[in-house]
């Protein structure tokens, strides 16, 4: 009887908060709606008033999308972006979790690992613009001014944030799990692969989403590394820069293209979302 009342109370609580959050969600939706409306309009339907930004077009047409696909060479450039993003994500997850494990398990009692930790994490505060030109020179010298080089640099540049996240999370994973494995005669490598790596799943999801977002949307690094030659390495954001010529930006085409670029990463996030939130809980509570 008492339990029933409690459940009822809980259920009563749900709706006002839901409605409040839905109303606040409008603040998220209005700008997105604007992007969508502009994406389906023709340049001749753009006017300098509120209707130009918000009114629906007279004729619905997806021609901007097909045109955007053609102009940006979408399948090719998105393919490049996807390749760079997927490789960066996989490499970041592997490399960062590995070194973070070494750091997290040793930094308490070994100065050198503590130094590694602060060395890597402090890189977060270096402005990219300071490294850019020297880096361009260096990468060209090693013949790494291509897709592979860009992936390589994403690993390096995301290292700071990823190490911070992984080490923080690893501190919450009890060592007792590993110790029993060591007693059974396992090596450090196998402990990492069999026990730690799977336990890090929620952090993998977080790191993957962050790295994917950083790589997929990035303009500056591909801009200075990939430009030139036959342009076969061009990424989608680079191709999209064509819309922003100083003398007249075709926002209709540009927004259609941005919406197309948004979809793959949105799907990826929706898949990863559950892992991120649920996973962080599990790990932290156990600690």
């Amino acid at each position: 009887m008492k339990k029933d009342i409690q459940i009822k109370e809980l259920e009563n609580k749900k709706w006002p908060m839901t409605i409040l959050l839905l109303i606040l969600g409008i603040a998220i939706l209005i700008p997105l709606y604007m992007a969508f409306v502009i994406a389906i309009k023709q340049p001749s339907e753009m006017t300098n008033d509120i209707a130009g930004a918000l009114a629906l077009p007279k004729h619905w047409s997806l021609s901007n999308f097909t045109e955007a696909i053609r102009v940006t060479d979408f399948w090719h450039t998105a393919g490049n972006s996807l390749f760079i993003t997927v490789c960066s994500v996989v490499a970041c997850v592997l490399v960062s979790s590995l070194i973070s494990y070494a750091i997290a398990r040793n930094m308490q009692h070994k100065k050198i690992y503590k130094f590694f930790y602060y060395y890597l994490v402090s890189a977060m505060f270096v402005p990219f613009s300071m490294l850019m030109l020297p880096l361009v020179k260096q990468m060209a010298f090693f013949h790494l001014d291509n897709k592979i080089g860009v992936i390589f640099l994403y690993i390096v540049f995301n290292m700071a944030m990823n190490t911070l996240l992984y080490v923080g999370y690893l501190k919450n994973i009890p060592v007792s799990l590993e110790e029993s494995a060591y007693i059974d005669g396992a090596t450090t490598w196998s402990v990492f692969w069999r026990i730690i790596f799977p336990l890090l799943k929620p952090m993998h999801a977080t790191v993957a989403v962050l790295t994917a977002l950083a790589a997929w949307n990035d303009v500056l690094l591909p801009l200075v590394m990939l430009s030139g030659g036959d342009g076969k390495d061009t990424t989608l954001p680079l191709a999209q820069m064509m819309f922003q010529s100083q003398f007249g930006t075709n926002y209709n085409l540009a927004f259609a293209s941005y919406i197309l670029a948004l979809l793959p990463i949105l799907i990826f996030y929706l898949i990863a979302q559950k892992q991120i939130i649920n996973g962080v809980t599990n790990g932290a509570v156990k600690g």
Binding site: T47, M132, L133, V136, D145, G228
Partner: protein, 410 residues
């Protein structure tokens, strides 16, 4: 757990395959010579790709890559830093080009067969700009003109004539305002649009050796720019209002939709105006900057010019491409597509919208745009934008003078 490991392994294998695959597929067509053409105007990429394909057809031994990225100046610099500049570089007339020319990056074009195809006034303009004893390092290809575009329909309706002098322009604006029309749509949120009014004003009020004289201390910005500054600020009274809230796009759309009678811009704005309003009856006339119509000159600059880099491993093929590009037929193809004006000597028919400037252009009654002489650190449009907001003339001249001295003492 086992599954996730397998998935990881699969992804890794796939990634590795892709990596090795990429490694193999590069270097297609080994018997063809590839040249890279870098153009700073992303809006012209399609016509250049078209021209490139046409060239490849006529020259089967050469492959042309057109590279026309956004933020071209940043890219070009990173290419120079890398030490592998493109074979052909297409830029506009700014001090950035001059810096590269002075750093000995381009081939000298002085007296070449190619430069003989160019109208002498533009060769002279380029030589003045480089200021290195008459040498030139580029082939001017397209020119631009900055003037005033107008809506012929509104002019007809109110029975207005094209102004030839500054006082006439002011009277015209006042008449428009009393007829409830907005004279100008100003998009000064984007500071570079201020150049469209500033270049004709400052250009008409100074002579070609003004900049050298400033360096030598014989003339000052304070004296020469007093009147242009007063005039450019005066024009703000005839705008749609709230001028720093609207950018180039907004202003172009506003003018195209008939929200203003006139629009200060260059010929590059025409494609977008006609895209927004294909039925518009569009005209253009030279900016009447002076009090006497005789003194008034049309403001023009080099819009696109091509240089061949010294590091190019295919200088011969690059010259062949430029010869192809500067032929009568191909010049016209480009100009028609981009609403450009040729800097090359050739038969050319101005599009109807530009009729009003043909006389001045053909008579070479032209003044070079001062923009070409300003070092980028001087940030002229931003400084004028700031002046329009805070009316602090001393600050403006201090900024101009400091940068000018800084750059020219080295």
């Amino acid at each position: 757990m086992k599954i996730s490991k397998r998935v990881t392994a699969a992804i890794l294998t796939a990634a590795l395959c892709a990596v090795t695959g990429i490694g193999c597929s590069s270097g297609s067509d080994p018997d063809k010579t590839a040249i890279e053409v870098f153009v700073f105007k992303p809006e012209s990429v399609e016509i250049f790709q078209e021209l490139g394909a046409k060239f490849e057809e006529e020259n089967p031994d050469i492959k042309v890559y057109v590279n026309s990225p956004g933020d071209a100046y940043a890219i070009l610099k990173s290419r120079m830093v890398k030490g592998n500049p493109p074979d052909i570089v297409g830029l506009d007339a700014t001090q950035t080009y001059v810096d590269y020319a002075k750093a000995d990056i381009y081939e000298d074009m002085t007296g070449s067969d190619l430069i003989k195809k160019v109208k002498p006034s533009y060769v002279q303009m380029l030589a003045d700009m480089e200021g290195m004893g008459g040498t030139v390092h580029a082939i001017p290809f397209a020119a631009n003109v900055t003037g005033i575009m107008y809506n012929k329909e509104i002019f007809r309706k109110s029975g207005l004539d094209i102004p030839a002098t500054w006082p006439e322009l002011i009277t015209l604006c006042e008449n428009l305002q009393s007829a409830q029309e907005t004279p100008f749509y100003l998009g000064y949120k984007e500071d570079w649009t201020i150049n469209s009014a500033w270049n004709p004003l400052a250009g008409n009020f100074t002579s070609a050796d003004f900049y050298q004289n400033v360096t030598d201390g014989k003339e000052t910005f304070e004296e020469a720019y007093e009147e242009p500054l007063n005039r450019i600020v005066k024009l703000n009274d005839f705008s749609q209002g709230d001028i720093f809230s609207y950018n180039y796009n907004n202003a172009t759309v506003g003018f195209a939709n008939g929200e203003s009678a006139m629009y200060m811009q260059g010929n590059w704005a025409i494609p977008m105006i006609l895209q927004t309003n294909p039925d518009m009856d569009l005209g253009m006339f030279p900016f009447p900057a002076m009090d006497d119509a005789k003194d008034n000159r049309l403001c023009s600059s080099i819009d696109l010019m091509f240089s061949i880099t010294k590091k190019s491993s295919h200088p011969e093929e690059s010259v062949r491409f430029l010869e192809f590009l500067t032929s009568q037929e191909n010049v016209n193809l480009y100009m028609e597509n981009q609403f450009g004006i040729p800097a090359i000597n050739c038969d050319f028919e101005f599009p109807q919208a530009m009729e009003g400037i043909v006389d001045d252009f053909n008579n070479e009654n032209i003044v070079s745009s001062p923009q070409a002489y300003y070092p980028s650190e001087m940030k002229v449009p931003v400084t004028i934008q700031t002046y329009m907001i805070d009316s602090d003339k001393d600050k403006l001249f201090k900024q101009f003078n400091t940068v000018w001295q800084d750059v020219h003492e080295e």
